[in-house]
């Protein structure tokens, strides 16, 4: 993971050297120092790298996107690969001191410039006469067959290759730049050809191993600074059509209906060729698997040689031949080169004008401006010697007179009045070239509200009408009526008296809990309001309630309401305490055991209290013991009384001093007799109270 990258940045590197070249390696292991001989270990390691096919997850992004239509005339095509060493893994000059030459190139092939073959044996993926040494990763792959002329004109030169591949390091946290990579290092392969408008292209990542010699070398004299827009470098379809004559009806020939084939010089059926410029559906996605067999791509069997007869080729022709990259090159007898294709995708380039060009040439004005002749984008005066600006589509000449626009932004439109007479009228939409102030408030503080469109028609001093606002009213009304949901919402809102009913309900419920007198008084209308209806509004509930209460209390305010409570209330008992303890403070202080403290000044009292230690009294044990014993004896006697009372079964509760009738007195009874509170206990037993 590349470290020390500031956020939002990426760094570029010229190349990444593969640490190990692809191939088969033998590892030999030897151990020494052990007692006894040890057999040498040999194991084999195969370092595999893509050669004829790229696994689909190795491509992170392509530009232009697969299947895209757009204005790509100023952008170089590119493909972003996951492995940073891939463009240099099979370079032959890795050991040289200079930058190694990549073995991959991204080439753009326009429609009609070549042919893409799928499912071809590995040995036939390259030009006949070239052999790929070493192992290949797959037995069958795709290959691109192009005439030598196309290679000479459009392929990158050997020196160009080194400039087209570089390595980018991104921060993995930036998901947009990282595009799903796992270590933050990406390899980018650029193309060298700018797409031209109106042409469909096939972008192929080709393997140039063993064929670097076929690449062109362009002397500097052949360079120019500009070019005239054209499509493909050459179009084989036109040449094939020239070889075959007029094109047969496509559909009937495909379906091999009787009478579809015309006899030609070969005596057999003509091959089916599309009309020049016919296009079909694109390949759906950028293919990492070069061995993909799509319906749209070439299905002509690769083994058809020129001598096999064009009849056979025609016979095998299918609907897919309408595609521009499937012309049998044997047909037009040119020397062709083959390159294995690791990945391919197609796109279409449209009319020129990238974002920058269009944005620089858009005409900027206020709404209401009508162009009356040639103009410049910003409004500068037009220089008659300037060349006409290419690219921006010129407006077709108007077939009717230009509109009359006033300085206020009003446009004169034809209008048929209610009587049926046509007359011009002024109209201004919501979009004006000048700021328009909003309608203010009327003298009574309310904004004007129209209930009908006719209320918004204005008459201009020259006799014509100004219908802008009336049209707006009608549009609003129609839009509301066209949506049943809005109509329902408005009806419901109206039922609630536009919210007023809800508020009134709140007010009514608030007053409902009040005493009757208060409620009656509160429901009277507000005397300060303009009219009775206004006076009953829920908003005036507050003042009305207060007024009701104040009226009820009247002059007897103090009598009706008690004195206000003080903020800090010593509670009602405090008054009684004063009666009980005449000298309250002195008593408190004495009770705390601090007779010498000054208690008339509270501050001094507090100051005196603070440093005093807590005093504990000595317990007088003898007195405490006596008191405790007395209490215990009392309790014991009570319990015994209860026990004696409940005691014998069969007797309903009452216990006499002699216990249950008929039984002899025992020790418990003696004890009970001797108890000091016996009289009280007896009384308790009689009274039923303990």
């Amino acid at each position: 993971m590349p470290t020390s990258l500031p956020p939002g940045t990426f760094s570029l590197h010229p190349y990444a050297e593969p640490p190990l070249r692809a191939g088969r390696y033998t590892l030999t292991g030897d151990v020494s120092g052990l007692p006894g001989p040890v057999q040498t270990m040999t194991s084999r390691v195969d370092v595999v790298a893509p050669r004829l096919t790229l696994p689909p997850d190795q491509i992170l992004a392509t530009f232009p996107p697969a299947g895209a239509r757009g204005s790509f005339t100023s952008r170089l095509p590119q493909v972003v690969l996951r492995r940073r060493t891939l463009p240099w893994e099979r370079s032959t000059d890795l050991d040289a001191p200079t930058t190694p030459t990549p073995w991959l190139a991204l080439v753009l092939v326009a429609e009609g410039e070549g042919r893409l073959l799928s499912d071809v044996d590995a040995a036939q993926c390259v030009t006949p006469g070239v052999t790929l040494t070493g192992d290949v990763d797959v037995p069958k792959s795709s290959c691109l067959e192009v005439p030598r002329e196309v290679v000479e004109r459009t392929f990158p030169t050997r020196d160009d290759l080194a400039l087209l591949c570089h390595v980018r390091a991104v921060d993995l946290a930036d998901t947009e730049l990282a595009m799903g990579d796992d270590d933050g290092w990406l390899a980018v392969v650029l193309g060298n050809r700018l797409p031209q408008p109106g042409v469909r292209y096939l972008a192929c990542l080709v393997n140039l191993e063993g064929q670097h010699g076929a690449l062109p070398s362009i002397p500097n004299a052949d360079l120019k600074l500009d070019y005239v827009r054209a499509g493909a470098v050459l179009d084989l379809r036109a040449e094939a059509a020239a070889a075959y004559g007029p094109v047969v009806d496509f559909d009937t020939a495909t379906m091999r209906l009787p009478g579809s084939a015309r006899t030609g010089p070969t005596g057999g059926a003509r091959p089916v060729l599309p009309a020049a410029g016919g296009g079909t559906v694109f390949v759906q996605a950028a293919a990492g698997q070069a061995a993909r067999l799509g319906e749209q791509w070439a299905v002509a069997p690769p083994g058809v040689a020129a001598s096999a007869g064009y009849a056979e080729a025609a016979g095998k022709a299918r609907k897919e031949l309408a595609d521009g990259w499937s012309i049998d090159l044997g047909v037009v007898t040119r020397p062709a080169l083959r390159f294995p294709v690791l990945a391919y995708w197609s796109f279409a380039c449209e009319e020129r004008g990238d974002f920058r060009y269009l944005a620089e040439h858009v005409h900027v004005r206020l709404l209401g401006h009508v162009p009356a002749g040639p103009e410049t984008p910003d409004g500068d005066p037009v220089d008659p010697h300037d060349p006409p600006v290419p690219g921006a589509v010129l407006e077709p000449p108007p077939t009717r007179p230009l509109p009359l626009v006033t300085e206020t932004g009003h446009v004169s439109l034809g209008h048929a009045s209610r009587a049926g007479e046509p007359a011009p009228a002024w109209y201004r939409g919501p979009a004006t070239p000048l700021p328009v102030p909003r309608a203010g408030l009327r003298p009574d503080g309310r904004p004007p509200l129209a209930h009908h469109a006719d209320q918004l028609r204005r008459v201009v001093p020259d006799g014509q009408e100004d219908l802008g606002y009336a049209a707006a009213f009608e549009i609003g009304r129609l839009l509301a009526l066209s949506q049943p949901g809005v109509v329902t919402a408005l009806a419901r809102w109206r039922q609630e008296a536009y919210g007023a009913a809800r508020v009134q309900q709140v007010g009514a419920q608030a007053v409902a809990g009040a005493p009757d007198q208060v409620r009656e008084l509160a429901e009277r209308p507000d005397v300060l309001a303009a009219d009775e209806r206004d006076g009953r509004r829920a908003g005036t509930l507050g003042p009305r309630a207060v007024r009701a209460v104040a009226e009820l209390l009247g002059d007897r305010g103090a009598a009706a309401l008690g004195p206000p409570r003080p903020v800090a209330d010593p509670s009602a008992v405090a008054a009684d305490l004063d009666r009980v303890l005449p000298d309250r403070d002195a008593g408190t202080v004495a009770g705390l055991g601090l007779p010498d403290l000054a208690y008339d000044d509270s501050a001094a009292l507090l100051a005196g209290l603070a440093p005093l230690p807590v005093r504990t009294g000595d317990p007088d044990l003898s007195r405490a013991t006596v008191a405790l014993r007395a209490a215990l004896e009392d309790k014991a006697m009570q319990l015994a009384t209860m026990a004696g009372r409940v005691g014998a079964p069969g007797t309903p509760g009452a216990a006499g001093p002699a216990g249950p009738a008929g039984t002899a007195r025992d020790a418990l009874d003696e004890l009970l007799d001797r108890a000091p509170g016996r009289a009280a206990g007896r009384a308790a037993a009689d009274g039923g109270e303990v």
Binding site: P156, R352, V364, L367, D380, A392, R428, G445, A560
Partner: protein, 346 residues
């Protein structure tokens, strides 16, 4: 005495408690935290937002915005102020559907001021990208609105355009910020305006409405990864291209704006000769130095998304526009005045 005191106190407390309870209940019913709402209002929220959409001209036929095709020709952008009287008329028309009898109309007249203010406030709720429940809702009185109509291949080719409006020009700040450096951190300093509406009315027509009158508008190409390319130029009958160079040490463009013309191969339209172009670049960057490697070449060819800036060009050193450049009416005020004062025939 005490009984009277207690009764009065109880009554007041009862009154207050009941009222508060009722209001709280109403509040709980009305405020839906899932949708942005500044609070309980007289107009129900759904109706308010629908009326606010109407104010932003949603659903209004295009012919009512642009009365004549000549007012919006291809490859043009037209800025405008929004007439609040017109949009108020729209809302009044919609409200007239809900009034049937004269008392209804009288009640609505009494309430219309509140309705107008609440719909003003709701205009900002229609488009709140990135609002999460519980987040703050924009509030405040409504000011003037403005916007633009853009008819161009920019809209059809790049549907996800970024549009931003600012109340303040970045070249008026001290220190001034260059156009390509303005980012989100300058939103507060430049007073970024809310975008109330951004919609494609047709494949090539874009309408945008700003919450205010902008001094500066950005229209930016949507990002699509890192791209490499050239800047095309017109060269006689053909097409040329040039590359504005960057300093390899810093990655920024040179302040003097030096550039090279791209070399193409003869008989091969659009095929760039990289070696010669790289040699030209080397001559402008470090004459006599080691040749450019692929990383440096890629850095020169980098193209970032383009940002079109609409602002006062005199701040950037351009000439001021001649009067009447942006709006030249066909019938001027003088002619109108003459006409109204009973001059010639209408």
């Amino acid at each position: 005495m005490i009984k009277a005191a207690l009764t009065a106190e109880l009554f007041l407390r009862d009154l207050v408690v009941n009222a508060v309870f009722q209001v709280a209940q109403e509040l709980v019913e009305e405020v839906d935290v899932e949708q942005p709402d500044p609070g309980p209002r007289a107009v129900p929220r759904d109706l308010r937002v629908w009326l606010a959409r109407l104010r932003l001209l949603e659903g209004v036929p295009f012919g009512h915005l642009v009365a004549d095709p000549a007012l919006l020709p291809p490859e043009s952008i037209r800025f405008f102020y929004l007439d609040r009287g017109w949009t108020d008329a729209l809302v009044e028309g919609a409200l007239s559907v809900g009034t049937v009898t004269t008392p209804d109309r009288a009640a609505l007249e009494g309430l219309y001021r509140t309705v107008r203010e609440e719909v003003d406030e709701a205009e900002r709720l229609v488009r709140l990208p990135g609002w999460t429940p519980g987040a703050a809702v924009p509030a405040g009185p409504a000011g003037p609105l403005s916007g633009f109509l853009l008819r161009s291949r920019l809209v059809s080719g790049w549907p996800a355009l970024h549009v931003r409006g600012y109340a303040q020009d970045n070249l008026r700040l001290s220190p001034p910020v260059p156009d390509d450096r303005v980012g989100e951190e300058h939103d507060a300093a430049l007073g970024r305006l809310g975008l109330l509406r951004l919609e494609r009315l047709a494949p090539a027509v874009l309408v945008a409405l700003f919450d205010g009158v902008p001094q500066l508008v950005h229209v930016e190409e949507p990002r699509a990864g890192v791209q490499f390319g050239v800047a095309e130029t017109a060269a006689g009958a053909g097409v040329g291209a040039q590359v504005v160079l960057r300093d390899p040490a810093t990655g920024e463009r040179y302040p003097d704006g030096r550039s090279v013309d791209v070399r193409f191969r003869k008989d091969a339209p659009g095929v760039v000769h990289l070696g010669a172009t790289a040699a030209d670049m080397l001559a402008r960057i470090r004459p006599g130095g080691p040749p450019l490697d692929s990383a440096e070449f890629a850095m020169q060819m980098l193209q970032f998304p383009y940002r079109a800036v609409f602002g006062d060009r005199t701040l950037a050193g351009g000439a001021s526009l001649p009067p009447g450049a942006v709006f030249r009416p066909v019938v001027g005020l003088a002619v109108l005045r003459e006409r109204f004062e009973g001059g010639d025939r209408p």
